[in-house]
Amino acid sequence: MTRALENPSRRRLLAAAGSLTMVFTIGPAWSQDETPLNKGKLPGSLEKEPWLDAWIRIDADNRVTVFTGKAELGQGIKTALLQVAAEELQVAPGRITLVTADTARTPNEGYTAGSHSMQDSGTALRHAAAQMRTVLAGLAARRFGIGAPAMTSRDGVFQAPDGRRATYGELLAGQQLHLKVDPSLPVRAPAGHTIAGKALQRVDIPAKVTGGPAYVQDLRLPGMVHGRVVRPPTPGARLLEVDMAAVARLPGVLKVVRDGRFLAVIADGEYRAVKAAAALARVARWDLPPTLPADTRPAPMVRAWPAKSNPILERGVPGSAGRSFTASYTKPFQLHASIGPSCAVAQLVKGQFTVWTHSQGVYPLRDALAELLGVDKAAIRCIHTEGSGCYGHNAADDVAADAVLLARAWPGKPVRVQWMREDEHGWEPFGPAMLTGVRATLDGAGKIVDWQYDVWSPPHNTRPGKAGNLLAATHLDKPFKPDTPTPSPQPEGSGDRNAIPYYVLPNARVVHQFQDTIPLRSSALRSLGAYCNVFSIESFMDELAQAAGVDPLAFRMRNLADPRAVEVVRTAAKKFGWDGYRKTPRRGRGFAFARYKNLAAFCAIALEVEVARETGMVRITRAVAAVDCGEVVNPDGVRNQIEGGIIQSASWTLLERVRFDERQILTRDWAQYPILRFNQVPERIEVDLIDRPGQPFLGTGEASQGPTAAAIANAIADACGLRLRDLPLDRARLRAGR
């Protein structure tokens, strides 16, 4: 266990509780399919944190505290986890306080990413809460001297038939259950669920609509001062000279900091810090060598970067006879573009750093900051405090590094660092540019008898862990070097996520061309490689279907074996009205399907677009999504995520591209990097959830991005005959027709 125990001298109820765990043995109830990856391991995050009292504690006054190492990113995970715990504990959700990612208080669940939260934390909490209730029931039964089935319970209180009552808190009497969680204990049957799987309003929304403090940006601590960093004007810039003295004399400026080409100001007021930073930028002189690609067209640019060939699928025999087709698809660099630029507060008091951060991984961040500062990990506490949606590895960790550096320069007081919009657009780790190439052979009957797919991709994971992955660390006088990224293995993958189609392909080869070094920083953007790979594969499936003279849906169904996949495809088609669709001028329909990572949620999307070639305008008139994510804990949360994913992906697909020249990033604000506005949001979106009670939770946060992109491309092709393979499908491209 890595976290500091708050109460090391707990009494252990091991013996008493242990004797009770034998009572209930209704078969194994592992909450995830056993796969070669997790065979023999505890389910979910229990493998990393098996102790029950790390997850749930109940005070003597019957207040329940649930701990999760996951973080609320706006995906509603706090509410969903609350529902899981409340369901198994059989208490009202309002009785529970949920503590999220804090290196001093919660389990280490790594990153909140990859749509793992329900699978990791939800699973662990489900078992921990189930066990806790079992233990409590046993304690109550013993206290009442009756059999457990004779008791009733309601919201944390057991009651005997004669009216005697005992609260959970009274039963534990201030002790905590230092037991290893036993996942073989039964969990509540989904048919009897009253909290999980039901609509529950999100616990964080009321504060957000009434101006209550909700974000790290809202933190106000006593004596807090404000920092702003002046970033170099270009990625390759070298600082020649800077007159710091003039800036130090500006009103409110407390300190001007320089370490190498890391430049910052600390001021007593926020806007004064903003102005001082602008003044500091004006007096800095830089050398600006060209360090970025001269040719920014994605295909030649990506192809030019060195790649290591990494085969991830080799099945059957190549070279079958038939008609062969090839295609190549590209995606540009794209931004997370969080609405609230990244922010962190850090304070150094008596050698202890406290950092309030919206990082997706407080534990890895802590390790990186410790290396950056040259201090012990124990000297740093990272507390997750919600930021605006991050959609992956944005600048949250970078700003935390800025904050600790400035806290070290101004010890004692909390230092708040807020990135400006230009900082976020210019310096966040980008979603990488990618290139795919596919070749497939159809036999006389229109079946796919050969499949060859290559995906060239820069890194999708340069998250800290290592200090060199923090932006400021690379600008210091003694800079840290970024880690050399390695590809994540399948089935998760990184650039090769979803590069293996979910279709049945008897002869197939898939190669991940991993590119570990490129002139720009790239990292995880929601769905990682899945967005480009599903775009490519599902566009190509349509192209093949057309070549085979078959309806695109029928073509896919021929090659899908998994009945759950078949059902989402059928459901989406039915709800869209695919079979009865009447094509009208300027409009067309498109379809796409994927199972995220080939092991998470299933998502099929059918949509209709209206295309105006003269202006290049594409409008989505309606979109229908069918989703299977196993057992649904919070249906509304899933719908929100899928709908949001469709709209976000529509924005990436129709509009978004980071532009740069040889020296600098050109897309520094919303004017230069437009995203979807209300006028272009689809007219209607419908999400159908196929609930599968008892099936493992499957992550949904990233399931709709890839299929949306392909469905749009396919619909445009249907609407006006234009088959576009290079993202974004923006107005200029629609006007030009290529």
């Binding site: 050109l666 004017a671 230069q672 506005r677 107005r731």
Partner: protein, 435 residues
């Protein structure tokens, strides 16, 4: 006839003559005003791709979409309200919809509309549609435009009601306007000018109809041919003169003008704003060689503007008002507005972010003969077309009061441009609030 009868005849004769004159005038007027309908065309002819492609490029030069496209999802469906001194006109649907567009128009009907401003059914079009410029187009160009428009997707969009000031709404009266201002004599190139200049002149004066805005109009709304490119007004904006009276504080080079026409921006010059924005959006889709030709032609007039010493060359912040300024209170208010609202962006100089913008001493709006364009820019901002990247100046209309806006304009005129003060700034601010 007896003597008594003969003494009453002169009065009656006068009445008869007057009546005859009225009838004859009405007859002549009717002959002038009436146009026959041209038969509806039931089926579309075939068009070849080359003609259509050419028509597309010509339509870009003609900036047809600037008036006829309101919603980018519905190109050429019309419905744009154009405020004129004679009332508000709405553009019509020029997609080939049979019922609400030009779907039943033959090439002859299309040509007559382009050259004479007459609709297929014979009613006269208001000269807000610049047929008095298109009238000089070569027939093969009209044919290509016809091919392009008749092959656009048909959209259902009925014409909207116009709101004209009496009597200017009476369409037959336009016939008299045409007598005065519709010059049908063929366009002639200028001997002694290059082929590119002449191509630019042909495009600019006719298809691109630059003079429709950039040349002043008479009281009756016709082009004042004697004052070619001497400036004008459009939709409440001042339209700059492009001749020796051009207000730009920094002289235009031909290259920068061409860049501006294609992209809406050139170094050291303000971005295209107001009605010019739509023009640039269209020109960027035109044949680049044609845009270069227009630049060559227009620049030959711009180059006549004398070199002036202006504040544009003076770097740095705009100054604090002089203590002896006769209008000190207003100047101090204007300076405060400038320093607190504008300087944050406009004193940085133009960089990639819109938060670093052109220093205002270089902004042409400050040098215009009246403050209308400046006031519109401040109130409405300049924003990119939907979903397309460009620079963005935010709108301050709801942020600054009328007093603050007027004071800002006055301050910028004196301390930004160093030019003689504008009159009637407050009236212009009030007028800009009206839709």
């Amino acid at each position: 006839m007896d003597r008594a009868t003969r003494t009453r005849t002169p009065k009656r004769r006068t009445r008869l003559i007057v009546l005859a004159l009225i009838v004859v005038s009405a007859l002549i007027g009717w002959i002038i005003m009436w146009r026959p309908a041209i038969d509806a065309q039931a089926t579309l002819p075939a068009f070849d791709q080359a003609s259509i492609a050419r028509g597309q490029r010509l339509a870009a030069i003609g900036t047809c979409a600037a008036c006829h496209t309101v919603d980018p999802s519905r190109p050429y469906a019309g419905g744009r309200a154009l405020a004129t001194p004679f009332g508000t006109v709405h553009s019509t649907n020029i997609t080939p919809d049979a019922r609400t567009g030009i779907g039943q128009w033959s090439e002859a009907a299309f040509t007559r509309a382009m050259r004479e401003g007459v609709s297929r059914d014979g009613h006269l079009l208001y000269p807000a549609f610049p047929y008095d410029h298109y009238t000089h187009l070569a027939q093969d160009e009209i044919r290509s435009l016809y091919a392009y428009f008749m092959t656009r997707p048909a959209l259902d969009a009925p014409a909207q009601k116009n709101d004209m000031t009496f009597p200017f709404g009476l369409r037959p009266l336009v016939a008299f306007w045409n007598i005065l201002y519709l010059k049908r004599d063929p366009w002639q190139p200028s001997a002694g000018q290059s082929a590119e200049w002449n191509r630019g002149a042909y495009l600019s004066d006719n298809l691109a109809h630059c003079t429709a805005c950039h040349t002043p109009r008479t009281r009756l709304g016709g082009t004042d041919f004697k004052r070619h490119l001497d400036g004008g007004e459009a939709e409440g904006w001042y339209v700059p003169a492009l001749n020796e009276h051009n207000p730009s504080p920094i002289p235009w080079t031909r290259e920068h003008l061409a860049e501006y026409l294609r992209t809406g921006i050139a170094p050291d010059h303000a971005v295209a704003g107001g009605p010019m924005q739509a023009t640039v959006e269209n020109l960027r889709l035109a044949d680049p060689a044609d845009v270069e030709a227009i630049a060559t032609y227009i620049h030959s007039y711009l180059a006549k503007a004398p070199q002036r010493q202006t504040r544009a060359g003076m770097p740095g912040s705009l100054p604090v008002p002089a203590a002896d300024d006769p209008d000190l209170a207003r100047m101090q208010l204007g300076h405060a507005v400038y320093a607190n609202s504008c300087a944050r962006c406009h004193e940085v100089g133009r960089e990639a972010t819109s938060g670093a913008a052109l220093p205002l001493q270089k902004a042409v709006a400050l040098y215009d003969p009246d403050p209308r364009s400046l006031i519109h820019i401040v109130r409405d901002g300049i924003s990119p077309p939907d979903g397309e990247p460009a620079r963005w100046m935010p709108a301050f209309g709801a942020i600054l009061s009328d007093d603050q806006t007027g004071a800002l304009a006055a301050y910028l005129r004196r301390y930004g441009a160093g030019q003689p003060q504008w009159t009637h700034i407050e009236d212009a601010v009030k007028k800009a609030r009206q839709p």
